[in-house]
Symmetry: C2
Subunit: 187 residues, 2 copies
Amino acid sequence: MRLETATDYAILGLLSDGARSGYELRVAVSEELGYFWAESFGQIYPTLRRLAREKLVVRNSERTGRRPRNVYTITAAGRERLAEWLRRQPQPRVPRNELLLKMYFARQLEPAEAAAHIQRYRQQQEVARAKHESLEQQFYEEHGKDPDLMYWLIALRYAQLEAEAHLRWAEEAAQILTELQEPAQAN
Amino acid sequence: MRLETATDYAILGLLSDGARSGYELRVAVSEELGYFWAESFGQIYPTLRRLAREKLVVRNSERTGRRPRNVYTITAAGRERLAEWLRRQPQPRVPRNELLLKMYFARQLEPAEAAAHIQRYRQQQEVARAKHESLEQQFYEEHGKDPDLMYWLIALRYAQLEAEAHLRWAEEAAQILTELQEPAQAN
DNA sequence: TTTGGCATGTAATCCGTTACATGATTAG
DNA sequence: CTAATCATGTAACGGATTACATGCCAAA
């Protein structure tokens, strides 16, 4: 038997906001949670089956006119389990930052090669920042009165502050590497 | 057959700085790389075997006086492979932040319960910050002239800026939740 | 008619963690 | 003598990704 994973609760959490099909969940994970959470697609359907077996969700097959869909609805028991999990202390995952691993050993590279990593990283973080900004707009426009809004903004704010920190780091690191490449000429 | 993992290169990287035994690698991963990288212990020995089979490291059994140790030394081929990997663009891992997942769905909790998560998180980040600071000291003291130092500081700086961002977030989030708990009385 | 999006699933594989298992040496 | 640390590995399990597999419907 299977111990509980955060995956289960990501799905229960989304369903707590309204019934959805597996396909819709797949989309919702990547669009709504995408900036801090991901589920591989091959994970969602098996998880839904298991949640249904445990009576935390119920499946309703819709065949009304459209092509058949299986829509999952969270049960009272599901909500309870979700709330219980939400109260438990979040487990930090093991750190594994490949960029930093490469930086740590970067003396084996030319400074310009290390700088290239940093440049690309900065660009990625710029993209992330832009995405966060548009997400924030979207939140206000589509959920201005939603009582969830506050919490969504808190989560988003985390990503925003991190991206800012990453950008600042990239600038500092680029600066250091530039100085390494052009050793001081003045005395 | 096995595709390459960053695990392999974390080990090759450490060995590029000097030969070590499996046990010493285990310690080094957690002490030197610990703030941004982790390897589970059951991973290191099998990886060393594989690296030896691929001639990227060589094993030397020491039995001189002390209890037997297997010391691994990186080969020229190993250094080449490491450098080649270092040049390739770092792959970001899939995002999975359990704290944010809980925050995102936190309307299902009492605001005070959400605030408790944030308090604990802030404390964890304070601990991290202190650890970074002592690491920095240690770097300067023990490796003041090491040409690797610059890169180690760059990696460390990343973690420092992130921790600062996390602390700032925790403060902001705590503030918002406090306001939620005591609704405005003045008009 | 063909492409793209909606829709649902299974299978193989891999990576990683945890637990198990054993034993030597050294310092207190 | 005994606890801590040095030291080396194996096995079982579980979770996650990727690839495979299928097919409908609507719009261009």
